[in-house]
């Protein structure tokens, strides 16, 4: 996983709530068997509208998506995270996320930042007034900064450490292989197997 420490750059305001993962990446894109090429599928239905915010040139190259509540609800498709990352996003800021999307993001190094609805609204307005507004997302300090504003966000210590170090979960778990072996010895033999 790619490490995340600090990102400084521009943002795109997405003034929509309940952005489900079917919108982030429609099902037709899920037929791919590789991990690449999903940037073209990002919001592909909405991007057909020339006025859609991602189509506006003033937001070209932005690495932060600022969205309404319940971003990433619905399907478990990790392709939604891959699509956002491959398009160029490093951070998504929203008042609330779907659990599975948020989990998938932290596995891949896309930082989900929860701010209050008021802070999100303020940031969206600031970006709309000045698309070139410089924004810094600082995971070390758990803080988003823009202009004279600063908003702190919560993230648990363990996830933060894993993101800062760019550590792969499987490698971490395999350090405890002996504990897994021991647990397996205690499993009820009545439990079913698919074999």
């Amino acid at each position: 996983m790619e490490a995340f420490t600090t990102y400084s750059g521009h943002a795109v305001p997405l003034r929509r709530s309940n952005v489900d993962t079917d919108q982030i990446i429609p099902a037709v894109w899920l037929k791919q068997v590789s991990r690449t090429g999903f940037d073209k599928g990002l919001f592909s239905a909405w991007r057909e509208d020339p006025d859609f915010v991602l189509n506006r040139p003033q937001y070209d190259g932005a690495g932060i998506l600022v969205a309404g509540p319940d971003f990433g609800t619905g399907s478990s498709r990790e392709h939604a995270v891959w699509a956002l990352q491959q398009y160029g996003f490093r951070v998504v800021i929203a008042p609330r996320f779907g659990d599975i999307f948020r989990n998938n993001s932290t596995k891949m190094g896309l930082l989900p930042v929860i701010l209050t609805a008021e802070q999100v609204e303020a940031l969206q307005s600031a970006v709309e007034n000045d698309p070139a507004l410089d924004i810094t997302v600082d995971l070390e300090k758990r803080e988003v900064r823009w202009g004279t504003e600063a908003a702190s966000f919560e993230i648990d210590d363990y996830t933060r450490w894993r993101l800062l170090e760019g550590l792969d979960d499987i490698g971490l778990t395999l350090r405890h292989a002996e504990a897994i072996n021991e647990f397996e010895k205690t499993r009820n033999p009545l439990l079913p197997t698919a074999a």
């Binding site: 919108q23 659990d99 897994i180």
Partner: protein
């Protein structure tokens, strides 16, 4: 202090617990399908890893499979490649697979319970958000992403932060004509699409206890639509009755021992939930959605809401957008909404009782002119049973199409889809924009409402016929 059902199952699977770290949770059953697994198997190959417990892993082909011409190769080359990739991966890593054409094939959440592989007290995961279905058995079951699929394949465990608990208690008895689907749609409308976020919901109360296993699966299936991590129902005689005699269920003395353990899997009287919601079953009626998320639902007797009457600005804006996408006008009675297509199927409502409900309504009736109705069994076993009961004959005689098993028009990854602007009444689980095909418009309904709607051509309940 006592523990909830969710806490009992969770605690029994903790491999390792350390201060400041997530718990490491053991996974008893890993279900795999073709869409969310190819990159996970690739990851194993690149790292030189094996599947740790192929005997606790089972795969099926469901999302991409066509529901006609099963014996021909899949026409869409991209879908075909994905299905062939699953076959190669299962063969390379020693995972049991039920491919297209096999009589054990079906939607991943239909075949687990059907085989008796889903049992009370187990942990079950799958790269699919509707894994919550299996919670109907008192299992802790939840959807995961592809990175986690790879993690479970490699280690048979998952790092987890223990979710909070939430009780949804449904008191009283469901009125006649009100089904499990109406109940869960009403629950989601009540608590919202983020209402269960971070929680495991336990469904309790007389109305839940009275549901069949299949009704309970419908309820737990849509827990994710309320944002919950999982949904659970404590196992009881209904559960044991359903499991007894299934291929992977225990038998003989083992059965008695298993039932004794399963009976202990209930929330203690003095346990405390982090959140509680109480619903009066007597107030419920057939329920349908009008918008583009599953929380935007109303009783069928209602009318399309006026966004101007919604106080919360985010919800108001969401409703305005939804009405525009759905091509609906505020104030229109829901019963006046005409549909082009009716879809019966999916992991929510593709089981035998659902098909019986549909055939019960269609018997002696015809699908309205200009309406296309697809009936897609959740598995090949469900299809076979329905045919033995003669349901297919009733369904076909009404003018509906009787198809092969798969996910089909629930998410339109196969050829079954809505055309832009087309409107469906669907027994599936998501009414998101474009879910059933780009530009398609979806109203979520129960199987009984789907069948009645097919007959009248407008949203309707059997009582309207």
């Amino acid at each position: 202090m006592g523990r909830t059902l969710a806490e009992k199952v969770y605690d029994a699977h903790v491999v390792r617990r350390a201060e400041g770290e997530p718990d490491l949770l053991y996974i008893d059953l890993h279900l795999v399908h073709e869409v969310t697994s190819p990159q996970a198997f690739d990851g194993l190959r690149m790292a030189g890893r094996q599947v740790r417990r192929p005997d606790l892993t089972i795969a099926t082909e469901d999302h991409n499979v066509p529901t006609t011409d099963l014996l021909k190769p899949i026409a869409d080359p991209v879908s075909r490649t994905q299905v062939e990739t699953l076959r190669k991966n299962c063969s390379d890593f020693g995972v049991r697979l039920h491919p297209m054409g096999d009589d054990g094939q079906g939607i991943v959440h239909v075949i687990g319970p059907q085989l008796g592989l889903t049992q009370p007290g187990m942990t079950v995961v799958c790269g699919d958000s509707h894994t919550s279905t299996h919670g109907a058995f008192g299992a802790l079951a939840f959807g995961i992403g592809t990175s986690e699929v790879e993690h479970v394949l490699a280690t048979q465990t998952l790092p987890q932060v223990q979710p909070k608990t939430m009780a949804v208690t449904v008191n009283g008895t469901l009125p006649g004509g009100v089904t499990a689907k109406d109940l869960i749609l009403a629950i989601i409308a009540r608590i919202g699409t983020g209402g269960g976020q971070g929680h495991i919901i336990e469904y309790r109360g007389e109305a839940v206890r009275s549901l069949s296993m299949e009704g309970r699966m419908t309820v737990c299936n849509m827990s994710i639509e309320a944002g919950a991590r999982a949904g659970m129902i404590a196992p009881d005689e209904t559960t044991f009755e359903y499991l007894k005699g299934r291929p992977h269920a225990p038998s003989g003395a083992d059965w008695d021992e298993a039932v004794e353990y399963w009976t202990s899997l209930r929330t203690d009287d003095d346990a405390v939930f982090d959140r509680e919601v109480v619903i009066d079953a007597a107030e419920l009626t057939p329920f349908v959605t009008w918008g583009t998320n599953p929380g935007q639902g109303l009783p069928l007797a209602g009318s399309v809401p006026d966004p101007a009457s919604i106080g919360d600005p985010v919800k108001r804006q969401n409703a305005e957008r939804a009405l525009e996408y759905m091509g609906l006008t505020a104030g229109t009675p829901l019963r006046e909404i005409a549909v082009d297509t009716v879809f019966v199927g999916s992991c929510t409502n593709g089981r035998i009782e659902d098909l019986r409900a549909v055939a019960g309504v269609l018997e002696g009736r015809k699908v309205a002119g200009g309406v296309r109705m697809l009936v897609v069994p959740g598995s090949m076993k469900v299809k076979k049973q329905a045919e033995e009961e003669g349901l297919d004959a009733v369904i076909s005689a009404s003018g509906a199409e009787w198809r092969e098993a798969g996910c089909s028009m629930c998410l339109a990854m196969n050829p079954d889809k809505l055309a832009p602007g087309e409107r469906s009444a669907s027994t599936s689980n998501r009414n998101f924009e474009g879910r059933q095909g780009p530009g398609g418009r979806t109203h979520l309904v129960s199987p009984a409402v789907a069948a009645a709607t097919a007959v009248t051509g407008r949203l309707a309940a059997p009582a309207d016929l």
